[in-house]
Symmetry: C2
Subunit: 535 residues, 2 copies
């Protein structure tokens, strides 16, 4: 019999010291539980993705010291640990895993398939490995590999020749909607193709724009999931071979539930790992800020969240009272600071230059920027992190004010289309088992309330149709013609595409936000600002 | 005899239509001048770098259409044109050049060495080519290749076997200080190694953070530069083989002159290619904004530049009068809007919450953000682009206010260390042949003037020493220990490194700015915000 443990840990980018301690502790725990092989996620020693920290030689050196330290603590147990390997002669670095036993690094495997698309830049740093690994223990033969390796059929073919009893795959696979079912397919395919067990150990935790969702699993040679770790949480799962008969897992992801969990972990880890305790949210009475302040309160605890309500002369009485009601429902403290006197001071200061020019987006934006300034004043004075409340639909179209409602250290909803914001609002009410977010907030037609009787629908198509166009254009990279072929009016598609293209400059200055869809803004979508391409 | 022309053109990212017209015009001109071979820079058809536009299938298709259109216009002349090649079967794309003659694409060469470091992400998009090219014309044998190809000695060895008469290298090599001499070395080495002529055709123009500086050249088999195109400007140079005896060029770059030219081209192209006509600069009377407003006026013409002077109660009389003097010296229009009444409105609004808490960075930042809001109000009302005036030293240390002095569409000095800002100021005065920037501005100890008697030196070491530490840490990726070994006090180095690390979040929201040093912020240096690495 052989007993294998997967340590689904929250390893922290750059925190080599903390990660090392965590790895050593887990090895110790596994040893006490008489585990034979204990497995850690990809690059556990340095966290994922370490980005340009990898260009610092002393960072690589610290990580090498750490893997030797881990080895020296490892007794009569096999540990498979992700780290950065450096080839002594040429100085190249590899995304690698060490097979450790009895105080020694027995072997180092180097990742063969380096992802260099989407959010991944591994070819910027790593040299690819050339060979698969092959180990044996207690009459079991196995191979260890790293994340993307298994996502290429050419690699799986290499493994096939060797007839392994099981495969260990260590990963740092970030969450996006639909990724879990893709992972399940790939791992099931691999298991069936090779006719062996697959042990998949994934990272968990939030790192800037990425959330690693865990969900480590053991897959049978028939492609069934026999063991499935928690998602969005640390876990330690154990599975023994030969396998006893167990029921297999059927996994299905509910978009709003998974997004809720991902956002929650993303917020929590950004706040905690960056040394903050409390956050502040500008609560307008609209649905976006209602969802953000609720997420924050449910994640960080109500005493760690502060609401700032900043009504203007265009704020309706019902929006204003909803804003207060949301804070009260959640039990978060809040202040009310009307912006009108400040707005009037700006108008007076600009009167000489603007003269009788009509009220336009200038005056709308001044108000949004006053709110930004007030939120940042609270942040500076009390050390609160400002959570940004903008959603993906408005960020796509530039329906937001740079330095205004776009301020904040962290963009909670920046990859959440408006239609999903509504689903999240309803999910939050179900989850909290009370109407935290009042129906009036969910039902009121969206408005920026920066001028009299303003509606989002004055400037944008309805969100149902807008979000469809945005998905086609941003996530699927479809052309104007292709989107029109899907049955949407050309003038409308052209208008939306134009807004997306023109507003790249705004997004470039947006706070980092949590990736939820298959293609988020930021490192996942690298568009030029200066762009002469016309459709 | 064979006559070769290098077309050093300003090809525009995404503007396939415009680039195609420009290429066809230049081929026509070359044909009329009885040129045998006319050469264009790397990826001329789509501009460089096209980034994620390359993920759009219809973009690739438009580019293929364009190269066929160019071919159909090409008469009895050989044109070598950079474009994106798509392999019909597998759908992979290549960074390629077409050899065109008499209406036909005779051959397509695919770049073998794809840069994937620094600002480059070519492995994100392109598959590498496998073979060198070999052509002959009028008893001359030659090979064409693309930029990075020649930067690898393994590639030069491949060429060596073939004994070519000359090599054509088409490039999109962005400017940074020192790059020119590196290029010269590489090209001279290649020419000497191969014993043949090298024709080097580089791109020119500004594209977001990058400035392509041209400086195309013809290098003799002895490694001498026999022809050197203008830098930072379009050019069309012709060179015939066999070469007549000509004097060779000795190239030397003066940092402040080259930076001045790069900034000037960068500003001009960002403004023009993004459809702006006029810019606005917040002129404080300090040296950074003095340099930016001068650069803008000298580049765009004084009538296209607007100065906004926003004194507070902490602005000294001399700074204020210098601000006005700079605008007057340049002949740019300006407005004065004191921020004190607006500041007081904020203080009053916050009084209930802030109570008697002492004046701290909160109140400093509120003032900076009022200025940001006013600049953006002018931008919104009149369509001016806001030029940001922050320098690299303060951006490194976070000695700047997010949404305050960090606002703007384009960061002119964001890669210029403060010590170079001073040199630029003096250069601008020499260049303009008058004291545009008054001596008092250059001599006054730097201050943010956000509280009484504030000096930069209260928070930062002197810029002479700061810029040295920043270069070691940011550009050279040296560790704390390594920098201390260079003879700088440990406490000082530790303080500076800490500031750089802690302020990654601010830089992530900074406007795009012009790369001038070997490592700029932005795509050139991809650091995590959440970063647990401690020195």
């Amino acid at each position: 019999m052989i007993k294998i443990a997967l340590v689904q840990g929250n390893f922290w980018v750059g925190n080599i010291e903390g990660n090392t301690a965590r790895i050593i502790n887990a090895i110790d725990k596994a040893y006490k539980e008489k585990i034979d092989i204990v497995v850690f996620p990809e690059l556990s020693v340095v966290g994922y993705p370490p980005q340009d920290l990898l260009l610092k030689k002393y960072f690589i050196k610290e990580n090498i010291k750490a893997i030797h330290k881990i080895a020296s603590y490892t007794k009569n147990i096999i540990a498979i640990v992700g780290f950065v390997h450096r080839a002594e002669k040429e100085g190249s670095i590899y995304n690698a895993c060490a097979l450790i036993n009895k105080g020694k690094i027995i072997d180092v495997y180097c990742k063969v398939n380096l992802p260099n698309y989407g959010v991944f830049d591994e070819k910027r740093y790593f040299k690819p490995g050339r060979d698969i690994s092959a180990y044996s223990f207690k009459n079991y033969s196995f191979s260890a590999n790293i994340c993307e390796d298994l996502w290429r059929s050419s690699y799986v073919r290499l493994l096939k020749d060797k007839k392994f009893d099981f495969i260990v795959n260590i990963s740092a696979s970030p969450f996006c909607m639909g990724k879990l079912s893709l992972r399940k397919e790939i791992l099931s395919y691999t298991a069936r193709e090779l006719g062996c067990f697959v042990f998949y150990c994934n990272l968990v935790g939030g790192q800037d724009d990425l959330v690693f969702d865990g969900g480590s699993m053991v897959v049978s040679p028939e492609g069934k999931i026999l063991k499935f770790a928690k998602r969005f949480k640390d876990d330690f799962i154990v599975f023994s071979l030969p396998a006893r008969k167990v029921k297999s897992y059927h996994i299905k992801e509910v978009p709003e539930e998974a997004s809720f969990e991902a956002l929650s972990l993303g917020i929590n880890d950004y706040v905690r790992k960056n040394g903050f305790k409390k956050v502040i949210v500008g609560v307008s009475g609209g649905i976006d800020s209602a969802v953000v302040v609720s997420l924050a309160a449910l994640t960080l605890g109500k005493s760690n969240v502060y609401g700032l309500i900043m009504p203007s002369r265009y704020t309706s009485e019902s929006t204003f009272s909803d804003a207060k009601r949301i804070c009260e429902n959640l039990g978060v403290k809040y202040s009310v600071i009307p912006i009108t006197p400040i707005f009037d001071a700006y108008l007076k200061a600009l009167k000489n230059v603007f003269k009788d020019l009509p009220f336009d987006k200038t005056e709308e934006n001044i108000q949004a920027r006053i709110r930004g300034n007030l939120l940042m004043a609270f942040s500076n004075k009390f050390g609160y992190l400002v959570l940004n409340t903008g959603n993906k639909s408005e960020l796509s179209c530039g329906y937001c004010t740079l330095y205004g409602d776009m301020v904040g250290g962290f963009g909670v909803l920046s990859d959440i289309p408006k239609t999903l914001v509504y689903k999240l609002a309803n999910y939050i009410n179900r989850y909290s088992k009370k109407k935290v977010i009042p129906s009036s907030v969910i039902k009121r037609p969206p408005s920026a309330e920066l001028k009299p009787n303003q509606r989002d629908s004055d400037s944008l198509p309805s969100y149902d149709i807008l979000d469809v166009i945005l998905k086609f254009y941003i996530e699927d990279d479809l052309s104007l013609d292709d989107i029109v072929k899907k049955g949407i009016k050309r003038t409308l598609v052209k208008k939306v595409i134009g807004m997306v293209d023109r507003n790249e400059y705004k997004r470039r200055q947006a706070p980092v936000g949590i990736k939820i869809t298959p293609k988020a803004f930021g490192g996942d979508r690298r568009m030029p600002i200066t762009n002469g391409f016309s459709h």
